[in-house]
Each structure stands twice: as C-alpha cells, then as structure tokens.
Amino acid sequence: MLIVKDLSIERLDKKIFENINLSLSPGNITILKGKNGSGKTTLLKAILNLLEPSFGSIYWKGKLLKKNLYDFYNHVTYIGDTTSSLRKLTIKDNINIWKKFFISNINDAQIEIALKTLKLDNYLNKKVGTLSFGETKKLEFLRLIMENKKVWILDEPLSNLDEDSIGLMKQTFEDHCSKEGSIIFSSHQNPGIYVTEEINL
C-alpha cells in the first residue's frame, strides 16, 4: 500500500538521511531504528506529507501520495511525542470529544474494556493534567484504538512505559496485524516485538 522510494531529505542544506526504501503492506510492522537525531521523526513527517522530500517519492495505493492525500489521511493515525489529550478536561470528556470527532464505530462497551486493560478505569473523572506521564501515554493508545484506522504511524511509542504496558502493546500490535492493519513505529531501543521490516537510519 505505502511505498517509499529513494527518499532523501535535507534541512538547512544538511543531509538528514539518504535513499530510504520502505514498503508497507497489510499485516506488516516496520520499525525505524536509530540514535537520537538520526531523522526518525523527520521520516515519519515526510510520510505524513508534512515535509517536502528533497529527492525520491512516496506512493499510496499506486498513486503519488500528494495526489491521493485525502484517502491516505482517512486511513492513518499518527501518534507523536506529545500528549494530545486536552489537559484541562477529564478523561471522560476527552473520550467523548474523540468519539464524536473521529466518528468512531467503537461502542462504549469496547471502550470500557480497553480502559480496563489499560488500567485507566479508575481515573475517568480525573483531569488529564493530573495524570502521570506514563498514564497520558496510555491514553494516546486509547485514541489509537478509537480512531480504528488501517495504518498506524507511531513516534517512539514504547518510551516511558513499564513492562506490563509494553507487553500490552505487543498484544495490540499483533491484533492489529491480524486484522490486515499495518504499523510503522520508531524506537531507539530494541523493543522485542516481532517486526517484518527493520530500517536503520
């Protein structure tokens, strides 16, 4: 579905990376590995069409990504390194807003189950600003489940998580793959998750 061909990016006349090739088909997990500053986030941004590649091109479903952007955005969820939940509102409000905004077809029972497995069900009426960093990170994954899209693009999803949560992530990833979904994620450590493709930046 998603094919990246000979991608090179320069910022401020400085080469960040060169000749990246990547192809993502349903059921695949791709990991981007590299040190800090090696351009993992930059590559993810280029895939989201936020950055203009200096050379090379990206294709989505056989068409150039730029020509097919709307369809691509309909199939993709991005989780960056920030907390996208609204800090002033409670978890419940956040869930409500997302559910309506994403026009999600996930029902309340499924959300409850997800909340329970993420161990967030006790904090429903707590403001997001009072949660710990790891808990807000988990809330991000709740969004992942609620958006219910095919392609997941995750920036450093495993940092700041405890062992239990990483185990949970593994489980979620495998579930998603078995439902013909595909995942790209970046990491600076070895996650111990089964991946189909590994790209070293």
């Binding site: 950055l51 955005y73 996208s84 609204l86 807003i97 905004f101 026009i103």
Partner: protein
C-alpha cells in the same frame, strides 16, 4: 455529512475547552474593566471630557485586551499536537484557521461585545451611540480575530519575542480604529464607513486562510 459533523464537533471541542478555562476569558474582561476605571481616575471626574474621548478609550482597550489572549490562539493546539490530528482528519490548514478564527470570535470577542453596554454607562457615552458602537465593533472584532489568527500563526515558532504578535495585530488595525471611531463621530456617513469596514473585513478574511495556513504548515514542518 461527515464533514459537517466534524465541524460541529470541532466547535463542541472548542466550547468544552473554553468552558473549562472560563476564568481566562473572565480575566480578560476584568482587565478591560479595570483599564476603564484607571482611565477614568487618571482623567479626572469631568464627565464632559470622559464622554468626549470615551469611544476612543473603549476601542483602544478592546484592541489591547483582545490582543492579550492571542498567545493562546494556536499555541496549545500546536504544542499538544491536536492541530496535526485535526489536519489528519481531513481539514486543510486554511480551513482550520477559518474555524479557529470564528471560535476566537465566539469565545473571546463576543463576551466583550456583551459587556459594551456596561462600559458605555461607565464612560458616560450616550445611549443613541450604542447602536453605532455595536455595529462597528462586531465587524471590527471579526477583523481583529482574523489579524490575530495571522499574527499568532506567524509567531508559533517564535519563542523569544511574543509581543511581536501583538504589535503586528496593532499596526494592521490602525485603519480599523480610524474608520470605526469615525463611524461614531460622523453619524451622517454611517453607511459608507460601515461599508469600508466591511471591505477591510473581506480582505483580511480572504488573506487569513492563506497566510495562517502557510504559517501553520511551516511551523508543523519544522517543530
């Protein structure tokens, strides 16, 4: 239909956000009123003088207090990544800026609009001028919202000197002030002056999605 729903829930989200931080809006209004008090005390008790320069004071303070909240225009959504999430849900950056502009108008400027009658009593402005004041301010504040959108999107990546954003809004609002104060002082040419204001509104409204959209994209690219 999906798209319309998304717009509605965009505003639902803005409503929730603004209601949870309603003290910010109220602080703006309090700033506005305290400035009026200070003006009255510093000018002295002469009612004639106050009502003579009252309209000018009102406009100046409205401009200043609406630039106070500019920092929050895009900054929060930009820093927590919601801007990107909204974009990925099928809104172009230009469209986001239009939605945000209206949201700023609704939740920041309309409270000022509602508090104008009280301010008029304090400043001893005649009741028959209230209509002109309302007409000019409802158009003028939309212009200020558009300008605010442009300047705050320009200054998203500017961590050092945020006051620059206010300066940009103020320099481009000079014609707005000239014409809207003119409306109140020259009631006989109300029609042509309100048309000029409306023309300015159309121009900034047309520029807004392009300029803000470009700046938003630029900031997201390079953050």
């Amino acid at each position: 239909m999906n798209f319309l729903n998304k717009i509605i829930f965009f505003y639902y989200r803005e409503y929730k956000l603004n209601m949870s931080g309603i003290q910010d809006i109220l602080t703006n209004i309090i700033f506005f009123f305290i400035s009026i008090f200070i003006f009255i005390f510093s000018i002295g008790p002469d009612k004639e003088t106050i009502s003579l320069i009252g309209v000018g004071i009102l406009w100046t303070l409205l401009l200043l207090s609406s630039t106070l909240s500019l920092r929050k225009f895009y900054q929060d959504d930009f820093e927590n990544g919601n801007l990107l999430i909204i974009h990925l849900n099928g809104f172009s950056f230009g469209f986001i800026s239009i939605l945000k502009t209206f949201s700023h108008f609704l939740f920041v400027q309309v409270p000022f609009l509602l508090s104008i009658p009280i301010a008029c009593i304090l400043l001893n402005i005649a009741n028959d001028k209230l209509f002109y004041l309302f007409a000019s301010f409802s158009i003028g504040s939309l212009i200020l919202s558009c300008l605010g959108s442009i300047s705050s999107s320009m200054n998203l990546m500017n961590q050092r000197n945020f006051l620059l954003g206010s300066v940009i809004v103020m320099i481009f609002s000079v014609p707005v002030i000239i014409f809207s104060v003119g409306i109140i002082n020259m009631e006989e040419s109300f029609n042509s002056l309100i048309n000029i204001l409306f023309g300015i509104l159309l121009i900034v409204f047309a520029i807004n999605p392009w300029a803000s959209g470009l700046c938003l994209k630029l900031s997201l690219e390079n953050s």
